[in-house]
């Protein structure tokens, strides 16, 4: 292959949930690399997931690359940006694809500044044209619209892919046998400029991992009614979430916020109570296998996404759902 490679970059937080999202990026990376006639590389910065070789093979990765350095263990940005800048100087990839997370949203953008290359966040798709030009589709206006950016220039382009935007698919036919290599970088000159005084205390359970989520919105009318959402979540063995207005108004903590600027979830069941279905919110739950919605307005946008709908006041329905959920268990 002669064209510069498409590189999917995985960094930090390689927890149980990462491989699934990484595979989405690898699936998209494979599509772009084959359109460009280029190889697909998977660069793992720091700790690799245990099953990396297996994942790489079923995603058709040609080269599995690794950068390891003690300075990358802390998950801080300066070392990562420097390591990636050195990687790009050595290998000149055509496209760097990240899974968008809280951390990569910053480092991918900073890397673009360092390299002078085009970058797009909130990506949902990437297409390569015949001439090799890249077009990136991204969510805008909180998901109300999609915008298409054309990335100019020959420099390494950077795209951060939204969670749940691409369905991971294994390569058709035979799996690949990726080469393995370590990429040497010199991070001796890096001194992190941001000092962590108090790290975030990771909660035990994360909304992102919940199998059942009950979320409340403005339709709850007042803060004390949020307890109905919590009670139903508890009765169903799930977790309670909220739309952004509830967080903005201080009803609930921001760790409960589902949406583009909050948590992007993919539960089996998502029950939306008194939520209108604004795109900003739906970006955080549209990937749920089943959405059940309760809203007084039969024309509410939430019903366009829902499998089951109840037209009614969630303050009347929720207590009955709690009762029904507790019965016959």
């Amino acid at each position: 292959m002669t064209s510069a490679a498409v590189v999917v970059c995985t960094w930090r937080g390689v927890r149980g949930e990462i491989p699934e999202e990484t595979e989405a990026a690898l699936t998209l990376g494979r599509k772009v690399s084959s359109a460009l006639g280029a190889d697909l590389h998977w660069l793992v910065v720091g700790t690799a997931p245990e099953a990396d070789a297996e994942i790489a093979a079923r995603q058709g990765v040609a080269a599995l690359e690794r950068i390891e350095d003690a300075k990358l263990a802390g998950g801080q940005a300066d070392a990562f940006v420097e390591a990636m800048a050195q990687y790009c100087a050595q290998r000149s990839p055509r496209l760097l694809l990240f899974n968008q997370t809280f951390d990569t949203r910053l480092v991918a953008a900073r890397l673009a500044g360092r390299l002078g290359s085009g970058a797009v966040m909130n990506g949902v798709d990437v297409e390569a044209e015949a001439g090799g030009r890249l077009r990136v589709t991204a969510a805008a206006y909180g998901g109300d619209t999609r915008v298409v950016y054309e990335l100019a220039g020959e420099k390494s382009c950077i795209v951060a892919l939204l969670a749940n935007a691409v369905v991971p698919q294994p390569v058709e036919g035979a799996a690949s046998s990726p080469t393995r290599s370590d990429v040497a970088v010199d991070l001796s000159g890096v001194e992190e400029r941001i000092r962590v005084l108090e790290p975030a205390r990771a909660e035990g359970l994360r909304l992102e991992d919940a199998e059942i989520i009950v979320a409340g919105g403005r339709g709850l009318s007042s803060p004390e009614n949020y307890k109905l959402v919590e009670q139903l979540a508890e009765a169903l063995g799930g977790m309670a979430g909220a739309s952004r207005p509830l967080v903005d108004d201080g009803w609930v903590d921001s760790s409960r916020q589902v949406g583009l600027t909050g948590k992007i979830t993919r539960p089996g069941l998502y029950i939306a109570a008194g939520i209108s279905g604004a795109s900003q919110h739906m970006a955080g739950c549209a990937a749920a296998k089943t959405i059940a919605a309760i809203n007084t307005d039969p024309d509410a946008a939430i019903f366009r996404y829902a499998r089951y709908g109840i037209v009614g006041d969630c303050l009347e329905i929720l207590p009955e759902l709690i009762r029904a959920a507790k019965q016959g268990r």
Partner: protein, 271 residues
């Protein structure tokens, strides 16, 4: 200390959202811009909160000058609003005729900050509510060699008078994180900062007399490559959602709830 707040004018996102919810959001003939002329233009709410963060630093006793800068077609209303809220300096950067993207915008803002006396602290909104990209602050930080601290719920002074620093509480997915960075630094502000203040009538009047400094790209000694767009918006569209909702029938809340739980149990979604 000098604090520079970068602000963008956007279409009122709530109005856009209402049009979208009603299925009436229309893209113009150019295939890129929203055509609803009735949607008002506002200061991006996250940027307004960035200005609020600057004003709170001043309220807390920081001896500071606050400059608000915007690169855009007609930011006068936005800058007047910033002045009414308490900005000491307001500046408008006109856009280059060669087209722009957020790389160009970031280059213009960084060059303005450098040429207008620098900044000990640059505050930006975490992202603009129109494109949601959030890339510009990171690019400015890189251009000015500043550490970039994102998604803050609060910013406080730290360090000493000869070695100023900021202490920032960040809203991370795992909860709040407290970090410190030496100045000069760039911090992006999130909605968790809380409601920004309203300008008083007297300040609104006074702000009318304040003239923004108009800066042309030619004055900013930029390299030609700084003015080359790298991510050009070529198309915008409204995604369609295929509805397939089955409305649960029933006459009472109890009946509706029992039916829904029954359906969810049939689908093996509930035990």
């Amino acid at each position: 200390m000098r604090i520079v707040v970068c602000a963008k004018q956007v279409l009122d996102p709530d109005a856009v959202n209402n049009y979208a919810l009603a299925g009436r959001l229309v893209i113009g003939e150019d295939g890129k811009t929203l055509t609803q002329t009735t949607i008002p233009q506002l200061m991006n709410a996250y940027d307004e909160q960035a200005l609020e963060a600057a004003l709170r630093l001043r309220d807390a006793g920081a001896d500071c000058r606050i400059a608000v800068v915007s690169a855009g077609t007609d930011p006068t209303t936005l800058l007047r609003h910033a002045a009414a809220l308490g900005a000491d300096e307001i500046a408008a950067i006109s856009l280059p005729s060669s087209g722009q993207d957020y790389h160009v915008i970031a280059a213009l803002l960084a060059a303005y900050i450098r040429s207008s006396g620098g900044a000990d602290l640059v505050l930006c909104g975490r992202q603009a509510s129109d494109d949601d990209q959030g890339v510009v602050p990171a690019l400015i930080g890189e251009a000015l060699g500043m550490p970039v601290v994102t998604v803050a719920r609060s910013v406080e002074r730290a360090g000493s008078s000869d070695r100023p620093a900021v202490r920032v509480t960040r809203v991370t997915p795992d909860g709040d994180e407290i970090v410190e960075a030496a100045c000069p630094a760039l911090v992006t502000i999130s909605n968790e900062l809380g409601e920004p203040r309203y300008p008083t009538a007297a300040r609104k009047l006074a702000a009318r007399r304040m003239k923004p400094t108009i800066v042309s790209p030619d004055e900013l000694s930029l390299r030609p490559e700084d003015l080359e767009p790298r991510a050009l918006l070529t198309r915008q569209y409204v995604p369609t959602v295929q509805g397939h909702c089955e409305f649960v029938p029933g006459n009472t809340p109890a009946e509706l709830a029992d039916r829904l739980v029954g359906l969810l149990r049939e689908d093996k979604l509930l035990q």
